[in-house]
Homo-oligomer: 335 residues x 2
């Protein structure tokens, strides 16, 4: 049995820089036609020059000519209208991080007060630049995303023409917001469709499944599964694949992030098939995103086949999700 | 400023065996007059002979003559009345583990059905042997203790003369059971008075704070603090200090357990002082336990002084809680 996906897209991806970029970029370009690239480098990507240079480094690292990085700028509330108008030619979106909330987010926004963000949000609405948001407060780890929901609601209500993507949602409460506001969308990761906090800390502690937002409760995963499997048109696949070297994951005090890029499509096929929803995978990994972002990706056909795939123990210095385990689907070719 | 504690007791302690025993036993005997020793060795301690031999190994390892190990047997529902009557001479309690719920608990009880436990519980009631329980189900990690509460209630209701100790409680719900049943008691650890899940997985992942039961929510910690600081007569200090070698804590898939024995009294003094409750520490670390277990420990005075103590980065191969950090109290002497 085979399944051909047309132009699969990863709408939330970390490829880092330098040696790590060289390790992971070819793995994404092998499976996907395009990906939204996160701007949280050190320092963050905040200028068109830095963005163009980063894009070139990514393209050189992919080792292929059939993969398009879709670039984002790190959100700052002092970008001018003129700057954003010029930036619009080069970017797919702006990514907003609350300050200090995840890896390399220290320069992010420290107050979600609408007044301070109004000018930028209005410019983005007019220029049709989507706003991508890491939606967590600095509260108790299991409550951070739910606590942030009032911010999403304020943003959505006050800027009805702004397309807002709730990135890597993890709760049933976030899922419920999609029905409430026309201009709210969401990405969902692979790992949040598979795991709960039980997999991170229920048996032994599993550093390679530790991520932000942290995996939540069984009923939360169920709500995410329902959205993805039904190909709800407001959700897109975004892996949030976030590589860290093995020694930064298994040390005392490990960094947050699950590395899924090279195994994402195979694991998604397994999951969708298990639930009898293989026919909806195309919408989840590509069609929905094309409509939401209003863009046409390059034509690239990725064919999966139902054939065992033993996930490598590592890719370079990075340990992937399902390391050493068997997945039921593998990638046959990508043309 | 100094504070002298009379015969401080650790009512829940893991000292392991062999080399690890030699590392950790002197650390407990330095701070405490006595401790309840957990029986979850490999294989578990289920015979009087094994128990007596283990007790001798502990005594030899403490390197002191002013520390008494209070021994426990690993609960089995097929112990006869005659066996328990004989065992009573050597033990302080039986410890019940649901099967597979924590380190070395595979041989534990697989069903909490009252009928299968009745004979043993009745014998224990008559012989006045306390029942110590690791109260968790195998459900979702944040719900396991609360889910187990119906078992505690059944045990307490059906065996009103059995003294039942809910070991290392972590939730406000468990705290509320103490008021409801006269024959329910509890131990509380040091780490559950200090940390929540935020400290384990809210920032970086902290393997050395990963334990079972896992640390819960802020409101749960508040409820435990209230019990301990008020010297509620139904609660006792039990460190659940659980050493693992560093490489078993910082590897991929780390073992559960926080090592606190050598720093417990210092950190408790700091905590009780911060809340203006130093006068209640004596009850929490000794007097309550003497009444609940109806025993008189050896006379041992442990004097703490308010003097900075930098916690070592490790004791042998074991990393303690607060490694490398500063505590405000230190142990002056133990006589």
């Amino acid at each position: 049995m085979t399944l051909t996906l047309n132009s699969p897209l990863d709408m939330h991806l970390h490829v880092r820089d330098n040696d790590m970029l060289k390790t992971v970029a070819p793995l994404s370009s092998n499976s996907f036609a395009s990906a939204i690239i996160m701007p949280n480098l050190v320092p963050p990507v905040t200028t068109i020059k830095a963005l163009q240079e980063y894009k070139q480094r990514i393209i050189r690292s992919t080792c292929r000519d059939n993969f398009t990085p879709l670039m984002t700028l790190f959100f700052k509330s002092d970008y001018s209208y003129e700057f954003l108008k010029e930036a619009k030619k080069y970017i797919a979106a702006l990514k907003l991080y609350p300050s200090g909330i995840t890896t390399n987010s220290e320069g992010g926004v420290s107050s979600m007060d609408i007044d301070g963000l109004k000018d930028t949000f209005e410019a983005m609405s007019e220029l049709e630049i989507p706003l991508l948001v890491h939606g967590e407060t600095n509260g108790f780890v299991m409550d951070r995303e739910k606590e942030f929901s009032s911010v999403y609601e304020q943003f959505a209500k006050n800027f009805p023409k702004l397309k807002i993507v709730m990135e890597h949602i993890t709760t049933k409460h976030s899922a419920s917001l999609l029905d409430k506001y026309e201009n709210l969308y969401a990405t969902i990761t692979l790992h949040h469709l598979y795991i709960t906090l039980d997999d991170v800390a229920g048996g032994m502690l599993s550093p390679h499944l530790f991520c932000k937002p942290i995996a939540k409760r069984p009923e939360d995963r169920e709500a995410l599964l329902k959205l993805a499997l039904s190909a709800n048109p407001k959700v897109m696949f975004g892996s949030d694949s976030a590589p860290h070297p093995q020694d930064k994951k298994e040390c005392c005090g490990c960094a947050a992030g699950v590395f899924t890029a090279p195994i994402a499509l195979q694991a998604l096929a397994q999951l969708f098939e298990r639930h009898g929803k293989l026919k909806n995978l195309q919408a989840f990994v590509s069609d929905n995103a094309q409509k939401i972002y209003n863009f046409k990706p390059i034509d690239k056909k990725v064919t999966l086949e139902k054939k065992e795939f033993i996930v490598p123990n590592s890719y370079g210095s990075v340990v992937p999700m399902f390391a050493g385990e068997k997945l039921l689907w593998s990638i046959k070719n990508a043309l």
